[in-house]
Amino acid sequence: MYKQFLTARSPLRLLEKGLHGGLGRGNLGLVVAGRGVGKTPVLVGFALDELLREGRVLHISFDQSVAHVRDYYNTVFSDLAHSVHLEDAARIHADIDRQRGIRAYPGMPFSTGKLREAVKLEGETCAQPTLLVIEGIQMNGDLREELADLKALAQELSAEVWLSAANSGEHVGGIPSDVAPVKDFLSVILALEPASDCVRLRALKDHENPDVTSLHVALDPRTLLLTRN
């Protein structure tokens, strides 16, 4: 299969349809789930889709090492390339490596100021990212200022920003309680729900749309690939 077909037939097109056009440039999205349910492979799936469409990704982790994040990309890409018999996979893999930056800030608190520095450096040495993936943040009301600044950064860059957070389990009005205080800054909130043979993606918030439709997209826990459900 050729790269263009792969992206055109990606389950993420279905996700975009379910989300009335997707996350959209300049917006923040959040993936919430319990530990070990699959937040990282979902975010890596989003990032690979962007990379395959010639975008640039900056992946920032506050709790994982560079090697760990890179291993995820390598594994998910290899499985994806293998599953669709991707033409010229080695070259595409090399291109993807060049279009993606990884930053790790182990043990450091989340700071949009740090992110701005990283993005600036990325712009000076390569190109501005079109997608930011941010992992390892503990969501709570204290982050309101940082998230407001992050939203401003997303708009300045005209980039999509996907974040992930561990799910506390309690919900307030359909939203996890620790996410609720910052939900205004998030355009899309997706929950990962383990089912018998897959992990389903369910929208908890879809911009301002009151009718949150079913997304029909899931994560296959065996291959860590996003699939149509």
């Binding site: 090492s65 560079v66 890179r70 490596d97 930053r103 800030y105 182990p106 740090k114």
Partner: protein, 696 residues
């Protein structure tokens, strides 16, 4: 010979350069009374540390070769191999780890887990070496053993457990608190030789209790008895020691110790830990391959009564001839006995047998299983196995990486020419990653190795140790060629005019192999289209052709050559006719299989203060590097990247100037990747020009 093997420890001391491992070794030798005066690194007293005994090492302040030494502590015999810290010399580290039973991983208390620590740790994991961590330099500004311990967990994936906490840090560093005995230790005397136990300071009690609880929690995973004792409130020191030892031996636990070797603090408790937690040869299972039984694996037993099996892991040309460092795995090696080299099948008589202490030695009569000794006057190569001839076994081969860089060298005069040959003969025997040979076209001597510094060191050693002055050319990168698509071939070699004729036709296809495979010859001839006696001739011809590709004259890799048809002539077909047909067919097929040039790509890790992050990134990007990622922590950042080796010459100098000398880097071979088309074009044109010049 050592009688009680349970009291023997073969340990290595591995770390990042400048973490202070040579200083630590020096202190260990002092406290175990092997030396009576402490000398420092870099020859402050014009002598240099005992373990840094090569002249060049003393001058550069780094340890290049692994010097062996031994000492006694708590009625235990400890063999120590000091290992080099720079990645260009990792074959030395790997060789050492192969023969060791345990190791101390020295970490700088300020810089923590650095790039070389990652490499060394990966090597230790490969050889399943249990280790203790020693967080050194706690007297330095910015030292933080808690952070380093966390880094051991996060960066190296160790189940690191602090067995001590510091009493004061930086200038206030005064000693350590042992979390098992819950006692404070100070190191008195001019050289810290008097260990004084005293009641821990009240202000540290709370921290110590919290750290002990954490330690017990982690350690109890390895002992049900300890878990029960904790629940019943009857924990004994012995129960904890036993649990820590179990966890360490299974590689599931890394006990963390700390101090400052330079300020003589924390070394004696570390020695106690070596005897207490690291394995004896009896705790380790070593295996070899049985050469008389189709290389079937066999388990060796550390029994001095069994047939001898010993591994030569290091060679040195000293004042008294070749010195061979050996690890005895099974049986007994005795002076005057007869031994056989499993590789060459040659027999040798053991002349002098010595125990090494850096460059000094002690004569011994025999050496039993588990021990590390050296013998004189035996001609062998590094990695050879010796037996007493009653069995034919070989220790499993060590992983030896292929060289990635070459340099043409030319002696300046005839005296240097003779000495250069002697030096090269010795170096290539000592170091399997260093190769020397003659370029068949230019006739020049070409040396190859693992990096620029690796070759630089050998050129300097030639000059210093052998008086051989050489002029070196520009470094040459070890490119490769490969194909990128399947292509068919059908080649007939025919010479039937005058004299004996030649005839051979071969047909089939070539296709790319998956990553990491070199070459595969597949015979799919059915029905005798080519008589079976000529199939090896075709393969021989193809193997000749892959040594030199058509594009730039470098070896061709990653190709499957499938032979599925052909024709022979009853009179004119011969071995040579099919060799030529195979060779030409391969060249014909490759030309249609979109041949490409592969270049060696190095894994680069650069560490610098965060303010130089941008400068480091630019230095990588300017060299066609691909930045994999950046880690920022405690004011430092580590940039990991993959960079073509061809772009890395002179990098050390450039990096120094762009970061005010505050960045350091390590580099090792990662993989071969297709060279960009413009690079390939330049290389192809250059090669074509050279070939044309030679033809004219």
């Amino acid at each position: 010979m050592l009688q009680d093997l349970s009291r023997l420890r073969n340990i290595g001391i591995s770390a990042h350069i400048d973490s202070g491992k040579t200083t630590l070794t020096e202190r260990i030798l002092f406290y175990t009374q092997r030396i009576h005066k402490i000398r420092e690194v870099k020859g402050k007293d014009e002598q240099g540390a005992t373990m840094d005994y090569m002249e060049l090492e003393k001058e550069r302040g780094i340890t290049i070769t692994s010097a062996a030494t031994y000492c006694e502590w708590n009625k235990h015999h400890i063999n120590i191999i000091d290992t080099p810290g720079h990645v260009d010399f990792t074959i030395e580290v790997e060789r050492s780890l192969r023969v060791l039973d345990g190791a101390i991983l020295v970490l700088c208390g300020v810089a923590g887990v650095q790039s070389q620590s990652l490499t060394v740790d990966r090597q230790m994991r490969r050889y399943k070496v249990p280790r203790l961590a020693f967080v050194n330099k706690l007297d330095r500004s910015g030292a933080n053993p808690f952070r380093v311990s966390e880094q051991l967990r996060d960066k190296l994936g160790h189940n690191a457990v602090m067995m001590q906490i510091p009493i004061g840090l930086e200038a206030q560093h005064a000693g350590v608190i042992d979390l098992i005995r819950m006692q404070a230790y100070a190191f008195d005397g001019d050289n810290g030789e008097n260990v004084r136990a005293y009641e821990m300071p009240a202000e540290l009690r709370h921290d110590a209790e919290a750290a002990r609880e954490k330690m017990l929690d982690a350690v109890s995973m390895f002992s049900d008895d300890l878990t029960e004792a904790i629940l019943e409130g009857v924990v004994t020191e012995e129960l904890i020691y036993d649990a820590v030892r179990r966890g360490t031996l299974s590689l599931d636990l890394t006990p963390v110790f700390m101090g400052s070797a330079y300020k003589n603090k924390g070394v004696q408790p570390l020695l106690d830990a070596v005897t207490r937690y690291l394995p004896s040869p009896l705790d380790i299972t070593n295996s070899a391959v049985d050469l008389s039984n189709n290389e079937a694996p066999i388990t060796l037993s550390a029994d001095p009564q069994k047939p001898l099996v010993a591994l030569a892991f290091k060679l040195e040309d000293g004042r008294y001839g070749q010195l061979t460092y050996l690890r005895v795995y099974q049986g007994t090696l005795a002076k005057g006995s007869s031994i056989a080299n499993s590789r060459t099948k040659r027999r040798h008589k053991v002349g002098r047998l010595v125990r090494m202490h850096a460059d000094q030695m002690e004569e011994i009569q025999d050496s039993g299983a588990g021990d590390i000794v050296a013998m004189f006057g035996i001609d062998c190569a590094s990695g050879d196995t010796f037996t007493d001839e009653s069995i034919q076994v070989s220790m499993t081969s060590m992983h030896v990486p292929e060289p990635v860089i070459s340099l043409a060298i030319k002696p300046v005069d005839s005296k240097s020419e003779i000495n250069m040959s002697k030096a090269l003969a010795r170096f290539t025997r000592e170091d399997p990653t260093f190769r020397a040979g003659a370029d068949p076209e230019s006739g020049e001597t070409v040396i190859s190795g693992m990096g620029e510094l690796h070759l630089d060191i050998y050129i300097e050693r030639m000059k210093r140790e052998y008086g051989a002055e050489v002029r070196s050319g520009a470094p040459q990168v070890a490119y490769r060629e490969t194909i990128s698509q399947r292509a068919e071939y059908n080649y007939t070699h025919k010479k039937q005019s005058g004299g004996a004729g030649q005839y051979g036709r071969v047909a089939g296809y070539v296709e790319p192999l998956s990553d990491g495979e070199d070459f595969e010859f597949v015979n799919e001839i059915r029905g005798g289209a080519i008589p079976s006696e000529f199939i090896p001739s075709v393969e021989k011809g193809v193997r000749t052709a892959i040594e030199k590709g058509k594009l730039i004259g470098f070896p061709v890799i990653g190709v499957r050559f499938v032979l599925n048809d052909g024709q022979a002539h009853s009179v004119d077909s011969s071995d040579i006719a099919f060799q030529i047909a195979g060779r030409q067919a391969f060249r014909q097929a490759c030309a249609h299989a979109r041949p490409i040039v592969l270049e060696p790509v190095m894994k680069l890790a650069v560490e610098s203060p965060t303010e130089f992050h941008g400068a480091v990134l630019k230095s990588v990007m300017q060299r066609r590097g691909n930045v994999i990622g950046t880690t920022e922590e405690a004011g430092f950042c580590r940039v990991e990247a993959e960079v073509p080796l061809a772009e890395m010459f002179g990098y050390a100098t450039d990096l120094r100037s762009s970061t005010q000398g505050k960045a350091e880097f390590t580099m090792e071979f990662a993989r071969y990747l297709p060279a960009p088309s413009e690079v390939q074009k330049t290389l192809v044109e250059k090669y074509a020009g050279r070939v044309k010049g030679e033809e004219e």
